[in-house]
């Protein structure tokens, strides 16, 4: 027990309090922190608000669009798997495998697949007469491309949904069928309420992951920008290439803290992130009581 208490104190409690303190200072790691009051926060919502709000909008996009689609896909695939008579094991493996691909590797793969000029996807689209979009090189397509990447990796959620759907008691379906419920009614009235705790769980996990969304966007932006600079010769040092569309909040925080070493300002951003993630999780769990159905034993 005690090592963990030490661990908690050193790696979680201390940083939280120190973050709050640093957020009121100017600190560049070389000179001691200098107290500047609320200046960091004023700057965040003042002169720097264009960039801050852009990163917040991007992060909200990846949560509001990405998470529902991920849940929908994993649920849909899980239901399809339970309906299939043949090859459940095979298909389960197929849908799970992409979740294993390390994020950096998966992102590299997708940037290649979706590269505008000669990527396999656009080549295939061209073959059927569609001019493919610029994907990671187009500000309005970069985030949807990242969402596609995230749907490719829903395997973990899918496995959890599959276990939950298989756990729904058979009698419930049978009595629903006797009452004359069709397949879709059974899905809506039996399956959904029974597995609603799992839906809640995956939404919470998805939102938390969305708030820390970093790796895929960082790698994709870097690679796509490098590609563009070879092709056209634009500047490579662009935050959230293309056009700031992949500038997510954690990425901006990383740049401020560890590229420009504005530790105080990065801490202020961290405090805001902490407050938002705490509030968001609380809101979801509060509201969930209305639609989540806990059957049987109360834990």
């Amino acid at each position: 027990m005690s090592p963990w208490i030490v661990g908690f104190a050193v790696f979680i409690a201390y940083p939280l309090f120190f973050s709050v303190y640093l957020s009121f200072t100017h600190y560049d790691l070389l000179n001691p922190p200098r107290w500047i009051g609320l200046a960091n926060y004023k700057y965040m919502f003042g002169d720097d608000r264009t960039q801050i709000f852009q990163s917040i909008r991007n992060t909200l996009f990846i949560i509001a669009v990405g998470v529902p689609l991920q849940v929908l896909f994993s649920f849909g695939i899980a239901v399809m798997l339970t309906r299939a008579k043949m090859g459940i094991g095979f298909f389960r493996t197929v849908f799970y495998l992409p979740a294993l691909a390390p994020p950096v590797a998966a992102t590299l793969g997708f940037v290649y697949l979706l590269n505008p000029a000669t990527g396999p996807v656009n080549t295939a689209l061209k073959a059927i007469g569609i001019q493919g979009p610029l994907w990671f090189n187009d500000p309005s397509w970069a985030k949807p491309s990242l969402v596609v990447l995230s749907i490719w990796g829903v395997g973990n959620t899918m496995i959890i949904f599959l276990a939950a759907v298989l756990d729904v008691p058979k009698q419930l379906y049978e009595s629903a069928e006797l009452d004359g419920a069709g397949p879709f009614q059974r899905l809506r009235m039996v399956t959904l309420p029974t597995i609603s705790p799992v839906i809640l769980f995956s939404v919470v996990i998805g939102v938390i992951a969305g708030l820390q969304y970093f790796t895929q966007a960082y790698v994709a932006a870097g690679v796509a920008a490098g590609q563009a600079s070879q092709a056209g010769g634009t500047s490579t040092l662009e935050l959230g290439y293309p056009g700031g569309s992949t500038l997510f909040y954690p990425i901006l925080l990383y740049y401020h803290g560890f590229t420009f070493f504005q530790m105080g300002y990065a801490s202020a951003m961290a405090v805001l992130l902490l407050a938002v993630s705490f509030a968001l999780t609380l809101v979801i769990i509060r509201n969930s009581r209305r639609w989540v159905h806990y059957g049987g034993a109360v834990r």
Binding site: R92, A106, L108, Y112, T123, F201, G226, L273
Partner: protein, 302 residues
């Protein structure tokens, strides 16, 4: 006797016989179900296929619209190792994965035991802290931690930024995810087993070592697996702590820099990407059950 049973049997058969119309519909629905699954499955596998194909192309060809490699250039997989210090990165990742996973096991098992099988004041409060730790985005605490490691490095005259130590040491002081997962599993172990051992005069520590560890093998295998997987795929923290020192890059950071090192070479990039994906996929096929059970454990009891 026989004359009495026969009619019953025929009645059963008649009742079971489904009209041809319904059977045909069921068959068509099954065909539709499987077609959708095959189409979706194909879409999920296609990226792997194209990565493999591109990894076997010449660089010229990878930049063309041709999808099938001709000739197959297996030499790419040799070139990758000469073009980038892939062995060095692999070694770093293995050091990180081994030391961190040992640490996670060593530190998380006792805590999970204390949180599930021992009664003490403040237990629920501590469990709440575990949940908080679980939900906290790492970005919230990185600034002070980075400062802490930098300062500590100055104090002991051994630069810690640029090494793997800031990633390994925290693992030895507990990992919230593993504690949570193990606790959920320990809760399912019947109290009677432990009581029997207590009656026999076992101390809590021996109970943990002999009874609990033996019963919890699948869960422990799962957290070891997840820990290895996590160290292998984690990118944010390794980037933060090691990016200034290429000598200590683990695979994930190295791969992200691969294209910057070698500009346009998509074929080699895809070969490297494939090499990085392979160990995880092989691990999955070797330990499929532990994976699926572990993932399910995270969700069902959540």
């Amino acid at each position: 006797m026989t004359s009495a049973t026969v009619p019953v049997k025929t009645a059963e058969i008649v009742r079971r016989k489904v009209p041809a119309e319904v059977r045909r519909r069921r068959f068509l629905i099954a065909v539709a179900d499987h077609s959708i699954l095959i189409a979706l499955g194909g879409a999920f596998l296609a990226p792997f296929l194209f990565i493999v194909l591109t990894a076997l192309m010449t660089n010229q060809q990878a930049l063309s619209a041709h999808l099938w490699p001709s000739p197959f250039r297996w030499h790419n997989f040799v070139d990758v190792f000469t073009q980038a210090p892939l062995w060095r990165w692999t070694l770093n990742t293995m050091i990180y994965a081994t030391l961190a996973t040992l640490g996670v096991l060593f530190s998380s098992i006792p805590v999970a035991y204390a949180l599930s099988k021992l009664r003490w004041r403040g237990r629920d409060g501590v469990f709440l802290l575990v949940l908080v730790a679980l939900m906290l985005p790492p970005q919230v605490s990185v600034v002070p931690l980075y400062v802490m490691w930098a300062k500590l490095g100055h104090h002991i005259h051994f630069e810690l930024i640029g090494t793997l130590w800031p990633l390994i040491i925290p693992a030895w002081l507990g990992d919230a995810f593993s504690i949570f997962l193990l606790r959920q599993f320990f809760l399912t172990i019947p109290e009677e087993y432990l009581d029997a051992a207590r009656v026999d005069g076992c101390g809590e520590f021996r109970i943990l070592l002999t009874v609990v560890l033996r019963l919890a093998k699948p869960a422990i295998a799962a957290i070891a697996l997840f820990s290895v997987l996590y160290t292998f795929t984690d990118f944010f923290l390794p980037l933060l702590y090691t990016s200034n020192n290429p000598h200590n890059w683990p695979v994930s950071v190295g791969l992200s820099q691969f294209r910057n090192l070698h500009q346009v070479q998509w074929n080699l990039t895809m070969a490297a990407t494939l090499l990085v994906m392979m160990p995880v996929i092989i691990l999955f096929f070797l330990a499929q059950r532990a994976f699926v059970e572990g993932v399910t454990l995270t969700g069902v009891k959540g």
